[in-house]
């Protein structure tokens, strides 16, 4: 089996899911033609009934998927860009995330909403957003954001198998970033579990998505300077793997949380708070957060875009400071 990109891993996983379970179908804008990122390329020809182009209406894409999942199907909805999920917020928050809870488990929704997120692609304000902070505040929903091809494949499979609504976040910049052998490569098969991607003793970096790759690159650079970083790949953002987060924080006593989303109200706050409350005695330094500045969304021009996005250089700088504390 050849090494695949994230894009290919997602496509293969969708193909396998469609092949093995006729309750699985894909619905979204332009999915029949392959979608704007070509993720669903070729699937319409193989599964003509089960690739469904929706009208341009996100609330309906999610609401229709809710109904179909309630019936017993396994819808995999695609929101063309994470930035356009906002008009489906109500269907996700008021309906999907509460379905099982409000019926005491009598009804439930085995559905997945896939969407490309993140910046660094000249996408400007509405093709670059990080949306995880809004959805990790929705008990009943699960939120997944992998970084490596093998994890994309195994966690998408797990998401489709899960009986609960899962928001599956695909970072655009990871689509073609690297290749991995799907068998052989470490792959997390359970939702709710983070991974220590790199062992280290001086400080802990917690990240996900594209920032996980940037963090690993920074860790390499710092290793040459004798700073030894432990790097955690969160993988699932809701529910959070508190155990791995706390153990990794305790292991080094210094924590740097990195995300591409803006700082205030971002997921980093929750992670920091968990550590400040449950690993306080182990801390040797303030808990640092490296995130985008508090502006509405990523600007278009590349100069401002790179100013907005954290990267290996900014991560290394923050880590150095923290190590020196």
């Amino acid at each position: 089996m050849a090494a695949v990109t994230v894009l290919e891993a997602v496509r293969q996983t969708l193909d396998e899911a469609l092949a093995s379970d006729d309750r699985v179908f894909i619905i979204g804008e332009d999915v029949e033609a392959g979608g704007v990122f070509r993720v669903t390329d070729g699937l319409k020809a193989k599964y003509p009934e089960r690739l469904i182009d929706s009208p341009l209406a996100e609330s309906s894409i999610i609401g229709i998927s809710i109904g179909a999942a309630h019936y017993g199907m396994r819808p995999v909805a695609e929101i063309q860009f994470a930035d356009f999920i906002h008009s489906g917020f109500d269907q996700l928050c008021s309906e999907a995330s509460r379905w099982s809870y409000r019926t005491n488990g009598d009804a439930y929704l085995p559905m997945v909403v896939r969407t490309p997120w993140g910046g660094g692609v000249h996408g400007g304000q509405h093709h670059s957003q990080s949306i995880e902070a809004y959805y990790t505040h929705m008990p009943g929903l699960k939120v997944v954001a992998p970084a490596f091809p093998a994890d994309y494949a195994s966690l998408l499979k797990a998401s489709i198998a899960d009986l609960n609504p899962v928001l599956f976040l695909e970072h655009k910049r990871t689509y073609r970033l690297m290749r991995q052998e799907l068998n052989g490569a470490p792959a997390e098969t359970r939702l709710g579990h983070a991974r220590v991607t790199r062992q280290g003793s001086d400080l802990t970096i917690i990240a996900y998505g594209l920032m996980l790759h940037e963090s690993l690159a920074a860790a390499e650079e710092l290793a040459n300077e004798g700073i030894d970083c432990l790097v955690v790949d969160l993988l699932t953002l809701l529910p959070l793997d508190q155990e791995t987060i706390l153990e990794s924080a305790k292991a080094t006593g210094k924590v740097l949380i990195v995300h591409e989303d803006t700082l205030t109200g971002g997921l980093g706050g929750e992670i920091s708070a968990l550590i400040a409350e449950h690993a306080f005695e182990y801390l040797d330094a303030p808990i640092r957060r490296l995130a985008a500045p508090d502006i509405p969304a990523m600007p278009y021009h590349h100069a401002m875009e790179s100013f907005f996005m954290p990267d290996r250089t900014k991560i290394a700088a923050a880590a150095r400071e923290l190590a020196a504390y």
Binding site: F25, E49, R50, I52, S54, P55, A57, S59, S60, I62, G63, I64, S65, I66, G67, A68, A69, H70, Y71, G72, M73, P75, S87, D90, Q91, S94, E95, R98, W99, S100, Y101, R102, T103, N104, G105, D106, A107, Y108, P139, G140, K142, L163, N164
Partner: protein
Amino acid sequence: MTTAKTRRTRSRQTIEDYLLSEHELEEMYYFMLLARRLNERMLALNRQGRAPFVIAGAGQEAAQVGAAMALKRGTDYLAPYYRDLGMNLVLGMSAREAMLNLLGKRDDPSSHGRQMPSHWGNTERRIVTGSSVVATQLLHAAGIALAAKLQNDPLVVLTCCGEGSTSKGDFHEALNFAAIHKLPVIFYVQNNGYAISESTVKEMPVPNVADRARGYAMQSAMVDGMDCIAVYQTVRPAVDQARRGGGPYLIEAKCYRLWGHSSDDDDSRYRPKAELEEWIKKDPLTLFRGRVEKDGIFPKEDLDEIEHRVEEEVREAVQWALMQPDPGPEDALGFVYKEAE
């Protein structure tokens, strides 16, 4: 209808110009009456401080019972809205369960006290759980219909909302999708003239909700929602046609909310008394009783007997429900996620 056996059973033969049998007509009256009496007791319990909140369907029983009876019970899905007590009864909810739901009791089958009353749901009866957010259910209904179409499962989905809720974006997205894909959904709008205090002129630029169907080239119908028999005769053919692949339907039942919006509402603030009185004359129960009595379908005594049976059933249900266990504090936890068995 526990005590039914003790009485002469009604013929199941369809009666000319009713398209319903004696048996069905009795059911019709029974369910309308049961809904009304339950609502009355609920409001009484609220006034006694024993039920924090009541939202009722008084005045809409004909619209609800007539439409629900057009469905195949156990096969068709209902995505109701908060006034649809009558529909839930037709689809199998008992008076006891209705009271458990009102009181938010531990064993309330709809939500075990987690949601406000009248937020029904029951997978076995194919009643789709709903939130308080209006119009979202229209999309869920379309989604179920899409699934059924994909699986060649010959079922129909009936979903309800009030006329005010047709202003929501989700109404548009649901009708648009259902029409594009020719799905077996009946969008059933109970137009009771008001969205809380707002009369229809503030809600819609068109005189009838049914007019909204034109933007989707969708079939539509209007019916006197106070006349249960007319409602059945309107909804039934639409359901049958949808089952045969004829596509969605928008049906507007013109009715009226005989009570305030909810137990918290004072409708005298915004509703002319005269208007209310006009509609009270068209009370679906009086209307139905009058017709079947006049046509001599049932002698008066039989109708009275049904009334007594219902009174009894409601009385018993309330007594029983009040004694049932409440949820404990910790019952707030659990089922946030559904675990695979």
